[in-house]
Symmetry: C2
Subunit: 402 residues, 2 copies
């Protein structure tokens, strides 16, 4: 008995049959005596289809108009899901982002949530309505529609749970919860019963596609009880919370990210401020840099290598070439042959041997490491893409995660 926020992704509502299935899940929760707010994404490939429609007319359309277009996807989902719940005979109302007062900044295509006016939501809950909310969308101070970017519906759900002080925020997906690594790569990957916000954050950032890291950040900030569950069965899922219950495992998961491009700036002048110049230039164009490695080159020179997502490779190289004179470097080398492999666990900081165990597993498997990056709760390495699946398996085994 409480207030539950549930989020269902696009594949969960891809067709009429699945919409009816999800409606049944929601009604079950409602019948148990809970107040229920449901956040839903656009059906299946709707968003991609809309993007295709736009590209056919104008590949360089403004982001404002793209948001106007894309937000229709979720509006279709919420009305259909509400109709399905009406068919089951329960009181329901669907609401768009602007109707629930989901106020965001004006950064079209990747807006950040400022606040939620809970008045309408509360009114509908007080009337015992099941409330179906369009995820991924908001409204800015100009009364224009914005979208929240990748993983936006997860973020919508957590933001609503935080604003309403919900007892639970359940993220429904097509897997049973958070695993020690991708079960498609490692057959005996194990589902975790619980995980801490920080660990989940690292896993999410490192390529585990279960939850978007923005939603985990927000859940951590507002202390939202988050559960990742399957929409296809009633298994308990994985609970994400402040401190996960003490388990023996130091390493909680292994993540792989294939979307990695390495850029090396060779023979850049070795004087103070060069790294600042390079990375502030990239930041000014919103290019996210991941692993950075600086090494000594020829006399008075150094090399700076770093990784970006593959989609940013071309843009980054062009930007650096445009500033070749100011940055005084000799040449740029790039490669997309790498994958990033990471181990995550909050126990790591007190267990200095963890990184070397990872390196040992890779050495035993004769897999070369090209770059290394560590934080308090993770170790990431860059290896050849072709070795990635094998590497995930040997590391998973080394840390007895099965």
């Amino acid at each position: 008995m409480g207030l539950v926020v549930q989020k269902f992704g696009g594949s969960s509502v891809a067709n009429a049959e699945r919409v009816m299935n999800v409606a049944g899940r929601i009604v079950d929760t409602y019948k148990e005596g809970n107040s229920v707010v449901v956040v839903v994404s656009a059906q299946g490939d709707t968003t991609d289809d809309l993007i295709e429609k736009a590209k056919e007319i104008n590949p360089n359309a403004s982001k404002r108009e793209m948001d106007m277009l894309l937000s229709t996807g979720e509006q279709i989902s919420i009305s259909l899901l509400a109709m399905a719940i009406q068919k089951l005979g329960y009181p329901v109302v669907s609401l768009t982002g602007w109707q629930i007062g989901m106020k965001t900044d004006a950064n079209y295509g990747g807006a950040r949530i400022h606040k939620i006016d809970c008045e309408r939501l509360q009114k509908e809950l007080d009337s015992n309505h099941i409330v179906i909310v369009a995820g991924f969308q908001g409204i800015n101070k100009y009364d224009d529609i914005t979208t929240l970017g990748r993983g936006g519906s997860d973020t919508s759900a957590v933001a609503i749970a935080a604003a309403l002080r919900a007892d639970m925020c359940e993220i429904y997906t097509d897997v049973d919860g958070v695993y020690t690594t991708d079960p498609r790569i490692v057959k005996n990957a194990k589902k975790l019963d619980s995980i801490s916000y920080d660990e989940m954050l690292e896993l999410a950032s490192l390529g585990a596609n279960v939850l978007h890291n923005r939603s985990v950040e927000m859940a951590k900030k507002y202390g939202v009880n988050l559960t990742v569950r399957s929409s296809l069965n009633k298994n308990p899922g994985t609970v994400v919370k402040e401190v996960s219950k003490v388990e023996k495992m130091v390493v909680r998961g292994v993540a792989r990210d294939n979307d990695v491009a390495r850029i090396s700036i060779c023979n850049i002048e070795d004087k103070p401020g060069m790294a600042f110049k390079v990375f502030s230039l990239l930041a000014s164009k919103n290019i996210n840099v991941d692993i950075i490695l600086q090494s000594i080159g020829r006399e008075g020179m150094k090399d700076i290598s770093f990784t970006v997502s593959e989609s940013n490779l071309e843009k980054t190289v062009a930007l650096l070439e445009d500033n070749k004179e100011a940055l005084c470097f000799e040449e740029i080398k790039t490669s997309t042959d790498y994958a990033k492999l990471s181990i995550v666990g909050s126990g790591m900081v007190n267990n200095p041997g963890v990184a070397s165990m990872m390196f040992e597993a890779l050495y035993d498997a004769n897999i070369n490491i090209h770059m290394i990056s560590t934080s308090e709760i993770k170790v990431s390495v860059l290896i050849n893409k072709k070795n990635a699946d094998r590497a995930v398996n040997v590391i998973h085994e080394k840390f007895n995660l099965a």
Copy 2:
């Protein structure tokens, strides 16, 4: 140089190529120095596709959720059209019904416009933006989305033109304007240069699909200058205005309506109040009745015959049967074999011979008349559907409309 409101229907924006074509038309008007507000409908079959999606899940979904669903169709159109205008390099903004403050009553699926808050529209016009507005949709006092029902986009366009005191409201369609009759039936049907609001109103009500009568009513009420033009060529179209310029023609057009069902209540008691009972019963269920004919039946009895649209036939008969005892009638007969044929013209009231000329034309063609209804500016007859095309031709010829 002035403020022009243009409305484009769903077939005008059915695909990327047509969207670009419409964008070009709009930009031409803008380049001539006009401020331009454009009202657009959902693309091609979008609305029907959405209705199909809803039916698959729940054929009895609430009208509120249907409006939530259907309003996405226009939102898709406006964003795509705005993108097309961006491609041509002109400043543009798309706005939904709620963004322009299109306030309606709460009659979901057939809402009436209360007023338009012109603030946002005016702000965008002052910024020299071409403004693209979603037709067919509004918002009620609960902040819920409503739709205006059939012909809603025409009504949106006229309402916006009235609210902004636009110099001209142009309704773009796939024909050149308003014709003396359907050019698909009568080869030498003639396009009218101008027509009065009242004549247009009758033609619209009688089955001419060019303009919806709600939009004509509103144009008349607020004195909006209305033009019906083709989106495929630059022909001048037909101007709809208070008093059309004096022309020799008494009869302005011939209209045909195939969507007619005749219901006869046979041997109903001949006492005061029976007609009131029958038609107030139908009105209470929102059934529109068109031609009514009352005749003497057996002693102390009478027959009441009337027409409704075919879609209302079943519902009407069921309603009457349910009230058979209260209404004291013997039996109900129905037929859908009829078509309604009408002649319209404001000169008619002063030319008493007009109706008889129409009857003569039908008599000469050996076409039987089953019901007759007249008003100051129209005469309607019910004839067999199979004779309808021939009847339109002979009447068109009789009045020298070609």
